[in-house]
């Protein structure tokens, strides 16, 4: 559609969230829930895989890999059981979409699981949910119990002969378990450490069996595609980044929250919907898709938030976790805190990530406190050079992102810390209660 057309919000997964009973089977069914499953079970599994391929749905967990293609990688001749694993370990800083989705509408996830498991011919699915969200776990377990009682899960679903068990599995506090192979190790009862790829999970995943690992939002998007069709899905988004997704605005905005919109919407449009930057302040920097995606500035307000455009502008769409910081925020402090996080969450398996993050914490700390030197910036970039592309998994790459991008856009601010012998910012002004201009 032409660029003069206004981009609007397109609530699909959040469409029923204002019903107080949205999380119940009854509430979900009254808004058309489980009709997609009924339809899917009349189709051939391979036809469903083709449908999802044709829709262009790309993984909503950050990497953006085409979901249908992932399903298509399962080897046809492997006699082992197949598993579907839902990655509900939402932990990327800034990312806060799957948790409210599962709290408000766990059944759309379960319906997506049932359809997806049928499509990939799996009879056992796991939801690996982070442990630090008790009420989400309650809602998931409640929904699973309701679905079993209604014959939507279990043996011979809807009389079709299709069997599916779903297990809700709580994690125990490890960001790295959001990485799909670390998640699988964790689900097998080990320390959550990433595996060398290949083999990819499609070939040797859970218990070395063919396994599909998909994000919550990806799987939850499947029922709407089955119901409404490929044309409907591709009527939203861009050619290569089809469909809709949650854009999660947090930080110094007037109305932070979940905005479900076509991919390709811009931050300028989203900010307009969210009432702008908080009163009396202006945008300084933001993350397009969580802390592992290089930061953007006000130069990027009109960058379409789709996989290609964000990539071309030097960052990544990631999880569409838009953490927004105004001019009261010290970028050195922000980046330093993220690196403390990566250092804490590094699993320790590979040297570049384990050591690189450990040392970057030290360097950033002295820079923030005014005890650093300008040479420390080269030191940071040198460490990043040994981290980016050299770590075992994407955690290491993610850690390099905020460091490199912040030095690119705010080099002078680092130097100000050095020259002034301390942080030039009053941190109280960036708090919710200290921001009155």
């Amino acid at each position: 559609m032409s660029s003069d057309t206004e981009t609007t919000l397109t609530p699909v997964l959040s469409e029923n969230w204002d019903r107080p009973d949205s999380f119940t089977l009854r509430g979900y069914r009254e808004t058309g829930g489980y009709e997609a499953l009924r339809k899917a079970l009349t189709m051939e599994p391979d036809g469903l895989v083709d449908l999802v391929k044709a829709s262009g749905l790309r993984g909503r967990g950050g990497a953006g890999f085409p979901t249908g293609m992932k399903w298509g990688f399962l080897p046809k001749d492997n006699p082992k059981p197949r598993y579907l694993v839902v990655n509900a370990d939402e932990s990327e800083p800034g990312t806060c979409k799957d948790i409210p989705l599962m709290l408000a509408n766990p059944h759309v996830l379960l319906e997506g699981i049932a359809i997806s498991a049928y499509a990939v011919k799996s009879s056992l699915a796991f939801i690996y949910v982070r442990g630090e969200v008790l009420h989400v776990i309650r809602r998931l377990k409640h929904a699973v119990a309701e679905a079993y009682n209604a014959g939507l899960l279990g043996k011979n679903i809807q009389g079709t002969g299709f069997d599916l068990d779903v297990v809700v599995h709580a994690g125990a506090g490890a960001y790295i378990c959001g990485e799909e192979t670390a998640l699988l190790d964790s689900l097998e009862g080990y320390r959550g450490q990433p595996r060398l790829k290949p083999p990819f999970p499609a070939v040797a995943g859970l218990y070395a069996s063919p396994t599909v690992v998909n994000n919550v939002e990806s799987i939850a998007s499947v029922p709407s595609i089955v119901t409404n069709g490929v044309e409907w899905f591709t009527a939203m988004g861009t050619e290569k980044s089809a469909g809709f997704g949650f854009f999660s605005l947090s930080g110094h905005v007037t109305n932070p929250g979940q905005y479900e919109a076509p991919l390709g919407i811009t931050l300028r449009e989203l900010l307009d919907m969210a009432g702008g930057i908080r009163a009396g302040h202006e945008l300084k920097f933001w993350t397009p898709g969580g802390s592992s995606t290089p930061i953007f500035t006000d130069e990027h307000l009109d960058t379409p938030l789709d996989f290609e455009s964000v990539g071309a502008a030097g960052s990544m769409l990631g999880t569409r976790a838009l953490q927004i910081f105004d001019e009261t925020t010290c970028v050195v402090r922000a980046v330093g805190r993220w690196i403390e996080f990566y250092a804490h969450e590094s699993c320790g398996k590979c040297t570049p990530c384990r050591e690189g993050n450990f040392w970057m914490v030290q360097v950033l700390e002295r820079l923030e406190n005014g005890a650093g030197t300008e040479a420390d910036l080269d030191k940071l970039l040198d460490i990043c050079d040994n981290l980016l592309g050299r770590a075992f998994c994407a955690l290491g790459d993610g850690a390099a992102s905020p460091v490199i991008s912040s030095i690119q856009y705010f080099r002078q601010e680092y130097i100000d810390h050095v020259e002034q012998g301390g942080c030039p910012f009053d941190h109280r002004k960036s708090t919710v209660w200290g921001g009155e201009a």
């Binding site: 699909v12 008790l134 377990k141 009862g189 119901t227 939203m236 050619e239 379409p304 455009s309």
Partner: protein, 239 residues
């Protein structure tokens, strides 16, 4: 309990029944290790050497194998946590929005440091990483229930109420907070009956939907789709 390195017989017998149920959920028994660690934490409030020995016994693993896993995950505590475990998010977004001030004021107010318990055993304090509620920043968790949009004052009131034994109500959760041990039991996979309590969604979770309703915005009508542009010139604009 833990001094002897094993649970008393009756505890072991009771937990063994739970363990059997947990193990039955999985095609391979070792997958039960994380839930079993939650189970023993539910018994004692932390993972003791007796808890480690129990898990090892149930899964035919060595204690070293179990310990290696238990120490990897931050939710397993190796010392007793408080009856109410308070986690303050100090990852960047929450820290900037006021999480750092909240954490500092709670340390001072409670007289404890990070990962320490008050003398009465009621409250333990920890700074936590991003808990996926950034649009509700600054966020505080109590026994892994959400307390959204906190301030230093509200957080101090919260821990005072917890120490006085008053019921406190999470922003998005059940009517009251269960104990640390009860929370661990839920994590082991034994549901309580509180799933239907509390709101389905709140505040920031609904702002986009409310705006769409107000402006009459919706996803396209599948029966009346906009006609595709005659030639998509590949400009990459939104459709």
């Amino acid at each position: 309990m833990s001094r002897t390195g094993t649970f008393p017989e009756e505890v072991e017998a009771r937990l063994a029944l739970d363990a059997k149920e947990i193990i039955a959920r999985y095609p391979h028994s070792r997958s039960a290790l994380l839930p079993l660690l939650h189970l023993v934490q539910a018994e004692e409030g932390y993972v003791s050497s007796a808890g480690i020995a129990f898990c090892a016994e149930q899964l035919d693993l060595t204690k070293a194998e179990v310990t290696a896993v238990a120490t990897f995950y931050t939710m397993y505590k190796r010392r007793p946590a408080g009856q109410y475990h308070v986690g303050v998010c100090t990852n960047t977004l929450c820290a900037v929005m006021g999480g750092d001030e909240i954490f500092e004021s709670l340390k001072e107010h409670l007289g404890v440091g990070n990962d320490e318990v008050t003398e009465d055993g009621k409250v333990s304090l920890e700074h936590v990483e991003c808990n996926a509620a950034c649009d509700f920043a600054p966020v505080v968790m109590v026994n892994w229930e959400f307390f959204d949009n906190q301030t230093p004052e509200s957080a101090k009131q919260l821990v005072d109420d917890l120490r006085l034994g008053k019921d406190v109500k999470p922003s998005r959760g059940p009517e009251s907070v269960c104990t640390w041990k009860q929370a661990a039991r839920l994590l082991a996979g034994f549901a309580d009956d509180r799933a239907t309590e509390g709101p389905q969604a709140a505040g920031p979770s609904l702002v986009g939907l409310e705006l769409a309703r107000k402006r009459g915005w919706a996803a396209p009508d599948p029966d009346n789709l906009p006609t595709a542009p005659a030639a998509d010139e590949g400009e990459g604009g939104t459709k």
